[in-house]
Symmetry: C2
Subunit: 224 residues, 2 copies
Amino acid sequence: MMLRPMPGADRPAAAHVSAISSLIRKGAGEVLFAEGDAQDNVYEVVRGMLRLYKLMPDGRRQVIGFLSAGQLLMASGPDGLCVSTAEAVTEVTVCRYPRAAFERLIDEIPGFARRLLALTWQALQIAHDQMLLLGRKVAMEKVASFILLLAERQHADGDPDTLDVPMTRADIADYLGLTVETVSRTFTRLKRDGLIDLPNPNLVHILDRERLEDIAAGDAGYEV
Amino acid sequence: MMLRPMPGADRPAAAHVSAISSLIRKGAGEVLFAEGDAQDNVYEVVRGMLRLYKLMPDGRRQVIGFLSAGQLLMASGPDGLCVSTAEAVTEVTVCRYPRAAFERLIDEIPGFARRLLALTWQALQIAHDQMLLLGRKVAMEKVASFILLLAERQHADGDPDTLDVPMTRADIADYLGLTVETVSRTFTRLKRDGLIDLPNPNLVHILDRERLEDIAAGDAGYEV
DNA sequence: CGAACCATTGACCCCAATCAATGAACGTGG
DNA sequence: CCACGTTCATTGATTGGGGTCAATGGTTCG
């Protein structure tokens, strides 16, 4: 489960429970938990970025989401088994809360459950939007949507049109239901067409946000 | 938002609040609410089936899910705007709860919020599984997964291998990220290969569940 | 009986996958 | 410091799975 901070909430939802938590650091590429693990914890990303994904037996991968600072993550279901794998994209610091203690707080702190419910509902909406993207958008629309999603996430640090891209092309491909090659070609095309600049693979400058938004929404204005 | 009954819960979560609810009937094809509507309600399906979907400006459609008896549906976000459209697949009876009253109950009834949270979390997991399907599975795997999903849903009424398929091929296609033609061809192929029987378009008999499950999981055993 | 809708099937085509090669960036160790 | 391996990104050539276009038949309904 992937949760984002509530709009208007100044502090992450789990800030209440720092007494029972423990801080964990992971280097890039390290696994926090894997699909099927029997560990039963709630995590909060403090610094860095995680990727959450599911695997098929033959290695096909679907990235469910990228989690950055402030986001909550319930790793396992009622049975205590993890339903996806969480891996560090960059070096990350996460805060771990034992599930049992977390659940107790739900009953004790008034309004906490409602807040969690709102967060989970929001996560569900994001998942539904991603279903539209995966099921119905073409490659160009997927990549444009992804760039705007990144932009939305980091409007805090200065220029809203300058984007850090910490994940690899393979991560992006597995998030968008494409291949590495198609993602790369699409970035190149967006650059060639003057919608973005791409000084290096991990840095994007948005040059024409309006057209990007039209493309992402499917208002087909990108055929040249 | 789409919710399913908690495992082990004998009654739908909203059964507590029947005092403030109203029953609504809709004929097949009728719209319960549409994306962007400002109505702020929680629904529970009593009888029949709903489809939930999102649209793109040019008419491309992604079906988010099919809801049958017992399932809960929070139509709108914190801003009160509906994030998807709900339409009757068959004739349906739904129970409507005003959001405000529903929210009050969350604070008043102990454990209710937690129960809703569990339901929402489960809905999120289903959405994540669907993301894997949409992003990484091939047509045959998608259709096999869909048939097994249908089977899971109606194991109550008698034969677990006899499935009612109330939705159209277009609904299925928009749920799986395919076209009507591909869905139809894939059903035909499954029938030809002896994995299912298809007496008519709305009735499926599962003949080889094990192979269907292998295909759905991606254990590629369906090339002939 | 005709209109509308739905499902199926065939012919053809195209977008994105696959296969393949190259270059850039980054350690790591001699 | 440089040779080497590894990983990542890009680009080109080719292919194929599923989309598109089109036609047919079944069913329902007015």
